[in-house]
Amino acid sequence: MTSRGISIVVARCLSSLEWLFRLDRGVPQGKVRWVVDGLAGALALGVVAATPAAAQEKPSALGLGIFTFTSGPAAAYGMPGKNAADLMIGEINAKGGIGGVPVSATYVDEAQGAQGVIAEYRRLAGDAKNQVMVAALSSANCLALAPLAEQLEVPTVGWNCDTHQLLMDGKSKYVFRPNGNTVPEFIAYAIYLLDRKPDVKTVAIINPDYAFGHDAAKIFTAALKALKPDVEIVAELYPKLGSPNYQTEISRLTTARPDVVFSNLWGADLENFVRQAAPRGIFTSSQVILALGETVLQRVPLPDGVIVGVLGDGWWMSPDARAKPETVKFAEAYKARFGEYPVFPSIKMANALIYVKAAYDAAMRKNGGKWPTRVELADAMNGSKVETLTGIAQTRTDNDGLVDQIVGVTVRTSAQQFPVIGDMVRYKGDSLMPQAGQDPLAWIATLKPEFAKGLPKPGSYK
């Protein structure tokens, strides 16, 4: 049991005694509280001081608080993450857990909103069993939880947090993102588009109406303008997150007659949009980019030639992934258990858990095999380089991640009944990221058309 855990148990025991013997009867409340709290504190400190070795004892189970959407329209994206977590935790436990300690997860549904998510985070963090939080899916929730993670000193791994705002101040000690962020993710699409369709003149954007949608539009537009200044944005639409009907937006996009339609809609919103837009000819009249399109390849009949990607390197059929037996095994096990192959949110979650395990292993190697404290764990994550199912997740000194970006187009093959990603490119993670502490938009504005010339071309990743 950790020192923090012992303190909490002792304090709770004393609180129970206080209630049991009605110590407050006839005594002013403030004095009783002062005496009992003082006793609790002194005793807890004494216990902790007297048992330094106990602080490093292995717990009977390692609890993880895992935050994702398990209900509502966003569950179409969140549930594959939860499924992957179930599968990966099962695999870790089958191999003896982390450092011999079995892992268990408590799932928190992000659909309850930021207030509920914050309350759940506090509740889980208060239990010493839960040493790490894997949080969260929504960028808005990631931003809400980050200050709490710092305040409570709980290592928190953003399994999907995309917003570049998360770690911009460079002061985070306990929040980590073993992924790329909105900056490399959406610059990658701009570069791929210009390589594939260099004569593009007009672009329309339809993104969800919150930070992720607006950030993506800003970054994609800034990158396009920097790399091809004559590109014009002819329509920018931001439908409400969770909107079931896009018919008017589709008419608006059609009347704008853009060369390119860019979207980072996701979850059920993306499925709805594709199902409604496909019969109305959007995919034939414009080059469509669906930044999160890989998530619907197995569910919606996307036509050939749509530019899609995985917001990172998490494509389970990429050449690197296919070369790893453990990735192939994971994908097949996922298919056998859940009826579909993993989508990139599944891979992101699995990679985040691999990242957590690697941090524990590294921390224990460093401290002589003892169970690490939360501080030691955070130290192990900082600056780490972890081999994941699909590549390498490198953590910078500002806790932000560097992962490669895979982009391609939908193609049909005889091997699968659904479209897959072809004509791929794999950009190096650090090639599309500003330096730590640098303003991303200011950095993008400095890019010149020559910047893209030095990068790999569509079709080069085979």
Binding site: P73, T248, T255
Partner: protein, 299 residues
């Protein structure tokens, strides 16, 4: 010019049709029972879930896909037949004559129960079944490709307005409903079975809500949370049109549809607030809605 106006007009009508389906049942129930049914949105989404389930069943058994159209209607009838009498007799009738606060609290409780019931039965993932939409194909109007199903929805909305007006004005049931709406006590004193009228009127309201959900399903997915969104929009429409006014709901749907479409075309950032801005303007000018009137309070 015409090419710019036609899409605006068609999109407004298509949007208004969907909004009208969501609101007309709410306003009908209020006109007869004088109860503001907060659970109306849940009945809308249950209609959608049932329709999608039946259509998926038809697809899985590889039956003639045109059965899907019948399934949309059949699902609304089923939902109305089950939930209409059950809710009216089990809950709503206890609220007659009670304050609006009690009515709203009870129907809000029902809304929460129905929302959880949907999660238990249908799960938390989105449902899709677009066979009716695909079967009807598309038409290009003014350079924009529209789904024929959207045009069908516009026609259906007109049919429902006309059908309800015919029902109220030209049938025995309609006259009985009118009598109950005009003076409940007098209707009772001349031998009208008001309880039966209440059950029928409430079930008709449930049918319209469920039909709205069923008709919307082929063009949009059904997911938890849809009920709440629908309810809020239906309230806005009912308030603009005047609570209890069917033609008012139709005109209000058109206003809200037009406001939304204009926002998406001209000022996309105002898309979400446009229906409520329209409501605010109308209520500032006519506090009882477009077709509503000041009612004398009985003492």
């Amino acid at each position: 010019m015409l090419n710019a106006v036609i899409p605006l007009l068609l999109d407004s009508l298509a949007s208004a049709a969907l909004i009208f389906f969501a609101a007309v049942g709410l306003t009908l129930v209020f006109s007869v029972l004088r109860v503001l049914n907060v659970a109306h949105g849940s009945l809308y989404s249950i209609g959608g879930y049932v329709a999608a389930s039946i259509c998926l069943f038809i697809a899985s058994r590889q039956l003639n896909p045109y059965w899907s159209f019948l399934a949309l209607l059949f699902s609304a009838v089923c939902v109305a037949a089950i939930f209409g009498p059950l809710i009216e007799r089990g809950l709503i009738r206890w609220t007659y004559g009670k304050s609006e606060a009690v009515q709203i609290l009870i129907t809000f409780g029902l809304f929460l129960i129905l929302e959880d019931l949907q999660r238990v039965i249908f799960g938390v993932q989105s449902f899709y079944e677009d066979a009716p939409m695909r079967l009807l194909g598309t038409t290009s109007i003014g350079g924009v490709v529209y789904l024929n199903y959207q045009i069908l929805l516009i026609g259906m909305a007109f049919l429902i307005v006309i059908g309800l007006r015919l029902l109220i004005n030209h049938t025995r049931l309609g006259r009985l409903i009118t009598a109950v709406v005009t003076d409940r006590e007098m209707a009772q004193s001349i031998g009208i079975d008001t309880n039966r009228i209440f059950i029928l009127a409430f079930s008709l309201g449930v049918f319209l809500a469920a039909l709205g959900g069923a008709l919307a399903t082929p063009t949009s997915g059904i997911a938890p949370g849809l009920g709440a969104d629908t309810m809020v929009l239906a309230f806005a429409v009912a308030a603009i049109g005047g609570l209890g006014q069917i033609e008012g709901a139709a005109l209000a749907s058109l206003i809200v549809g037009l406001a939304r479409v204009l926002a998406i075309y001209l000022a996309p950032s105002l898309d979400a607030v446009a229906p409520y801005a329209a409501m605010l303007v109308v209520l500032l000018i006519r506090p009882y809605g477009l077709f509503g009137s000041v009612a004398a309070r009985r003492i």
